[in-house]
């Protein structure tokens, strides 16, 4: 059609495996790197920077067994050092000899940095760029040059910063990447400076690399695109040194869902691939054993959650009232939080999300609402405890089988202190006696602490149900004390996971932290049993009631 504008191609370059490895507390294994590269490929990233071959054994090995990727595979490293010829620089040789399609050289473009950090001269630095790019191009590599400190450099000495960029361009680098290395540049500065650069270098050769030190890495990246840059470098979940790199998990949906960008640009990530984004984001956190950021744009567990009563009823009337994009577009879900303001429609919506379809006029809904209110008055909170809410609902609906009874438990912690203040004994012990199908079973366990000991004893012998809980593990535990009337009430939230990576949260409330913990642990086990048993049924028999599906 004549009216349809031809879209420009915008490329995404991921540096999770290189700059993301600088994140405090992140320490990739070789297998982590392979899994992350596969995730990046799955969602349609154009370039995957694998690391710095030659700089450390891990990265060298990762490049030695090149991952199979649809994306271009990039190796990062320095231009030839001062005082060396480019042919005689082992760092450059490692890049050229690597399995990478793309060599990404980092080169300083701030004269102050050249003198202070490199202790080199401005001329030698330019020559190093020219020579390094030329030799890599001659070896058939696609070449990118990360102009380190470009924006700070441009503000201090625009001519020198531009000379660095031009040297890379003139030597035939495919991408000249302007880096806000210290992360302190503001969006309108990025826009102004990129606009200056694209007067000298075509925009489709210019990329941008931003850090989040003023909380504006996403805005800076998009400002650069508005000014003419055509490559964005970033990381999954915004991993990276200090405050992190530009978060591709936020940038991708903005590019695909906001008309200003979606009408002008095409990216490698399709609408279909983007529906995997929430899962990929959480899988990365899981891999790194980090708690996912609930409040992350688009992919956070709370990104489409509504708590307030008035907002909640409006969202249920028409989601556009409080949602700027649909949760489905990024593979996320709408959550209307159960809270003390909860009404019937909130509860029905939450049940729907958990796979329990119930008519709004079903009298059991009113009973469930009363039950939730009663529990919340005692100190229970179901916002962070989906599994306990699900169990409560199933019980009220008469759909929760009774798996076992607790007959008793006891916990003991004994400490004798040595003269120097150390412990003579480090453990805690617990005994749990349960009744499964009419048969009493008593188990004892030692643990690091009383909750660990109770957890182990509780899950030691569940008879016929034992096989369902073998792979369950406790992954998070939180306690808060509330003043409930004259007495303090303790609320414990427990998160468990199983071997398939599923996670669920439960809540317990009592004046006694051990009782509250035990209650949450028992809920966690009951939830797992309920889900497992229903799943087995679903797999083995014809579903008589189409409304009771898999949850």
């Amino acid at each position: 059609m004549a009216e349809e504008r031809v879209k420009e191609r915008l490329t995404l370059y991921d540096t999770t495996l290189r700059d993301g490895a600088q994140t405090t507390g992140v320490d990739f294994s070789l297998d982590d790197k392979r899994q992350i590269a596969a995730m990046l490929d799955e969602i349609g990233i154009d370039y995957v920077e694998g690391g710095y071959p030659g700089a450390n054994p891990l990265d060298t090995e990762f490049f030695a067994q090149r991952p199979k990727l649809r994306a271009r595979f990039a190796a990062f490293g320095m231009t030839r050092r001062q005082g060396r010829s480019v042919e005689n620089d082992p760092g450059v040789a490692a890049l050229l000899d690597s399995s990478a399609d793309v060599v990404t050289f980092v080169a300083k473009s701030w004269d102050f940095q050249v003198r202070v950090a490199l202790r080199s001269t401005e001329e030698d630095n330019l020559e190093s760029v020219t020579q390094s790019v030329k030799v890599a191009v001659a070896r058939g590599k696609e070449v990118a040059v990360d102009c380190e400190h470009f924006f700070d450099g441009f503000k201090a000495n625009p001519d020198y910063a531009l000379a660095c960029a031009k040297a890379a361009y003139d030597a035939d680098a495919r991408w000249i990447v302007l880096c806000d290395t210290n992360g302190g540049t503001l969006p309108h500065e990025v826009e102004r400076i990129v606009a200056e650069v694209v007067k000298q270098i075509p925009g489709d050769r210019v990329g941008v690399h931003c850090h989040d030190d003023t909380g504006q890495a996403v805005a800076n990246s998009l400002a650069a695109v508005r000014a003419g840059a055509r490559q964005i470098q970033g990381t999954l979940n915004g991993l990276g040194e200090r405050c992190g790199n530009a978060n591709l998990t936020t940038i991708i949906p903005t590019l695909l869902l906001k008309s200003e960008f979606s009408e002008r640009f095409e990216i490698g990530v399709t609408q279909e691939k983007m529906t995997h984004l929430t899962r990929v984001s959480h899988a990365l956190d899981e891999l790194l054993n980090r708690a996912p950021n609930r409040h992350a744009p688009y992919v956070g567990a709370s990104a489409f959650a509504t708590k307030a009563g008035i907002h909640a009823s409006a969202v249920l009337t028409d989601p556009r009232t409080y949602e700027h994009v649909t949760p489905e577009s990024v593979g996320n879900v709408r959550r209307v939080l159960v809270s003390d303001q909860a009404g019937r429609s909130n509860i029905a919506a939450e049940l729907g999300r958990l796979g329990v379809v119930l008519d709004k006029d079903d009298p059991r809904l009113a009973r469930l609402l009363d039950e939730v209110k009663e529990k919340e008055a005692q100190g229970y909170a179901y916002e962070g405890a989906d599994a306990s809410f699900f169990l409560l609902a199933k019980r009220v609906l008469g759909e929760a089988p009774h798996f076992f009874d607790i007959e008793r438990y006891s916990v003991a912690v004994d400490r004798r202190f040595a003269r120097n203040g150390g412990f003579e004994d480090q453990g805690a012990e617990a005994i749990v006696k349960i009744n499964v199908d009419g048969e009493s079973r008593i188990s004892a366990a030692e643990g690091n602490g009383p909750v660990n000991a109770l957890d182990l004893a509780l899950r030691k012998d569940l008879g016929a149900y034992q096989r369902f809980i073998e792979d369950v593990r406790l992954v998070d535990y939180r306690v808060r004390v509330f003043q409930g009337g004259t007495d303090a009430v303790t609320r414990v939230l427990v998160e468990c996971a199983d071997g398939e990576g599923e996670r669920w949260s439960t809540v317990g409330v009592s004046a006694n932290v051990i009782d509250a913990s035990f209650e949450a642990l028992v809920d966690a086990i009951n939830y797992k049993l309920l889900v497992s048993v229903e799943r087995e049924k679903t797999n083995s028999q014809y579903l008589k009631d189409p409304h009771r599906g898999i949850f």
Copy 2:
């Protein structure tokens, strides 16, 4: 001087206590609200929005006992409802009768919302704004109007959105606040739309309220200021519904440290007050039992951390090479994997805050720094545990008397469950054996739970020191679990208070929640004894060393 431009005043309006209360998992107590209001006041926020009096008992009580603040105190609520006269609307009455200086009305400015969410007419909505503002102005309140969905409304129907804003302005509202309620607006759209608004309403009457659903709430707020708005609404640590509100903890340093803003604007937060920002940010997270975001701009533990070898040595040569602002400016510290000067001066500053004056070259300071680093590596966190930090410092300085030794303790919880699921026994019991001045004393106590029992047994018989602790009570108790290496580590924070209303917080760390709790309880008692004994000395004898004052 003739050359110095007169700076314009930019005001900051905090809604942590209202919009921040919508954060998933956040559940303020009355005491939390009071403490947060005091923190906001401490850093120099202009307006503190306390909540929604009349909407829930908590907010009503908070307004009933008005906190003492330097800041303007604002109450949030709706304009008069459809079908009611403004004089006969209990919601409006609750706002007018409240202790607030400022009434902030929320009013829809998107015609679609007026019809779908309010089920009202466009005309009635405008009248509601006019009437509500007028009646509040007549009652002597300063009035702000939050134009909900302003940016989406403007894009759909600019005339109607502007009519709403104009209605508020014409009725003499002091502030017309443009809200990006769904958080989906992009910075350049904000800039363009605010520029349109300030053609009709003076910019010094215009505010902006942004949400972080595209990760650009900070950029959007600053874009609005660039376009002419003169009030920013936001929250501490970016608390808020879904992805959160504009993060004032990020915006404040950007306004004060980035020349484009600092040269043009003046805000209520001074450079000196900003040095408390990191502490306040972490104290808020402690209060809410949330893990502070390590990667938060400016205040995150990693915001000035350098991991990379080359970067680290450059940072030590000249911090400007990899820092866009100085960590000291926001009360944060540089963290490099090398022992550093910044740590020392930070610790000295912390001690100074607690009343212990120490020379920067005192060799004991280096010992203390080592001790703190060692403890923090084990999982201790002193940001929320001043009293434990104080004790640690006093011990390293050789100024902490030894009051008692723990010989042993034991705790037992036993539960037998009745058929109906109830407990047959509700208590927990503890035995604590201590040695005071060479004499062993054993005490037992029953409590609601093991921590309560331990606390009671520990404080039952401290011999000569008993009189100092008679009025101590445990007022708060928080637990968080961390992954420390392969094992989970439990951190317990305990807050105690005495009869004079003094409060102090201590920390304990262990794999075992009971051990960690006990450690924090012992610290709490030791702190109280230390303070009491020093106070007695101060009162009864001549002070030889003027530097060792009351703390």
